[in-house]
Symmetry: C3
Subunit: 259 residues, 3 copies
Amino acid sequence: MGDILLTRREKDIATVILNRPHKLNALSRELWLRVGKAMQELSSDEALRCIVLRGAGEKAFSPGADISEFSAHRSNRQQARAYGALIQEAMQSIRDCQHPVIAMIQGVCVGGGLELASMCDLRICGESSRFGVPVNRIAITMAYPEIRALIDLVGRATALEILLEGRVFGSQEAKAKGLVTRVVADGEVEKETYATARRIADGAPLANRLHKRFAYRLLDPKPLTEAEVDQGFEIVGTEDHREGYRAFLTKTKPRFKAG
Amino acid sequence: MGDILLTRREKDIATVILNRPHKLNALSRELWLRVGKAMQELSSDEALRCIVLRGAGEKAFSPGADISEFSAHRSNRQQARAYGALIQEAMQSIRDCQHPVIAMIQGVCVGGGLELASMCDLRICGESSRFGVPVNRIAITMAYPEIRALIDLVGRATALEILLEGRVFGSQEAKAKGLVTRVVADGEVEKETYATARRIADGAPLANRLHKRFAYRLLDPKPLTEAEVDQGFEIVGTEDHREGYRAFLTKTKPRFKAG
Amino acid sequence: MGDILLTRREKDIATVILNRPHKLNALSRELWLRVGKAMQELSSDEALRCIVLRGAGEKAFSPGADISEFSAHRSNRQQARAYGALIQEAMQSIRDCQHPVIAMIQGVCVGGGLELASMCDLRICGESSRFGVPVNRIAITMAYPEIRALIDLVGRATALEILLEGRVFGSQEAKAKGLVTRVVADGEVEKETYATARRIADGAPLANRLHKRFAYRLLDPKPLTEAEVDQGFEIVGTEDHREGYRAFLTKTKPRFKAG
């Protein structure tokens, strides 16, 4: 099977693969670390336009943290704190990535797997996917930053329903709850994901990066500085802006270059 | 008919019943007070795992404040302020209750009744339930804390639609608006409510209490203290955590004891 | 065709019409300005109870800013800043209007058109309406206040999906995303809009104005002052409150006069 994390690249779209299919791609300590590193590297690649995050195989995105490691690495408060920091770094690396990230979800997407998917900008799943955060069955909690991300996605009431009931549920309920962006037939998940990645990659990269930055910045209630407010106008006057305007007037397809 | 507020108890699940069926369980001043007191008492009962809040009978959860009392108790600004404080205390007692609370909704759930339900952690209703906040018909307003709770549940735009139009609407629209967690057939409301209460009660109580506390804490934009962030790790190392882990590995049902 | 912006009035309901049907009601600089001025004037008209904002004809609400003007007025950063301020003033005028505002949407509702609609309190559209914000195709961004309004309406994740993918989509998807309040058959848009305006106009105007003010005030995380909290009690003791109470008890229709 090779490395526990694989990175593929086709033109301006990269794919990051959680590659522990014998464990349904459960997130070992090492894998949390590798996700963070991979995202940081890909973020600085200026030629990229979109990233797809997926699990190996069609059975699972990820069932979450590899619980078999808990007795060694998450069995007391101090270890839990260190493990929490590890999770946090992986989660934040996706949000901090300047490129849009799509979670491509097949099969099981539970616990830490769902948390990881929730940090992506879009989530596309198949009909038979399964979702939930049954951590109250093993008496652990989601930490504040992770609950904040879940609330950001589905609202306070639904986040609490998911955590208190601890049910595992299907794709249509996940869609109704706002957990996923869209549900497609199982056989169409890959096709729809990469078609979406293509639509995103064809947009002006400067606009996409600013929109991603703006949307997450607004999660922080701290008032915007004048410099921040002004960032949205930087793009006007760039070559890409002229190209977009020209393409609009001539009804042709624009070719952007992120400058 | 007995007392205007009844409390029942079966094992680790308590039921609080608004018991004024001849008035569709309208909330008199006395009843608002009693709800607050009952929730505070039940919250401190460490043997409890979940609370169900319901109206007596199948015709109504509650149509809201008992308007026939308004000429005596809510007819000028000073009285309105005192009445508002009363409502606020009842509402807050549900949110402050350390145990998860489920609103079991049959029939009318309008005005202050809907506000009370909106403070519960989950809301389960029957197909024929009716919802709305037509307070602009009698020229009163929801106070800020109540509107904040409604916005928390359904978003700013839907909250304002409900308040400005003053329409009373059915269960499917309530579900689409995010007002209720789920809708079931009228004959299934009680069964689904207690099955949900059971699922919740079977989860680790420390995890449920922390998740409830965390989710509401995040409504406050005040930055988290280090001590707060650390609360999520307290559970690791407890007996319940060891029990949950053991049960997970042995694929048996865990038995938690909140410690 | 007449003036680019028309104002109509029938009893206590006013209608503001974007009137550039040959351009699908595209928002020229002049039209952004005129929207702001019209809303400010109508807001101070104490006899009004509700405002409908619509495009001329049935083909479009508005496709957004008139891009043909961009080479003259939005081609460098300084111009973009000035143009942004213009948009902002028009947007804010709707939110600041003391009367509830309904966007009546037929056909195209895209870009700045969608932004304008998103500032209204309710949005009613026809089945064949089309929505989207494909600004990354011309390499411009939505500014912070506009993104904040979009997030307020549909949540962070959906706002970012709309901006990153740049897709134009139909009314059912817009409803599922929370972009519109309700979808009706194309031939029913006008009827449903004015029936809704009537329901709103029949409510106590003081309650409607306070509810609108409260709901938007809560978007600001700044703590409420005691005076603000007290505003909700001002209405109790007014003549309208007595009228509403009398009408409730006698089961007649109240006649309010905003005092």
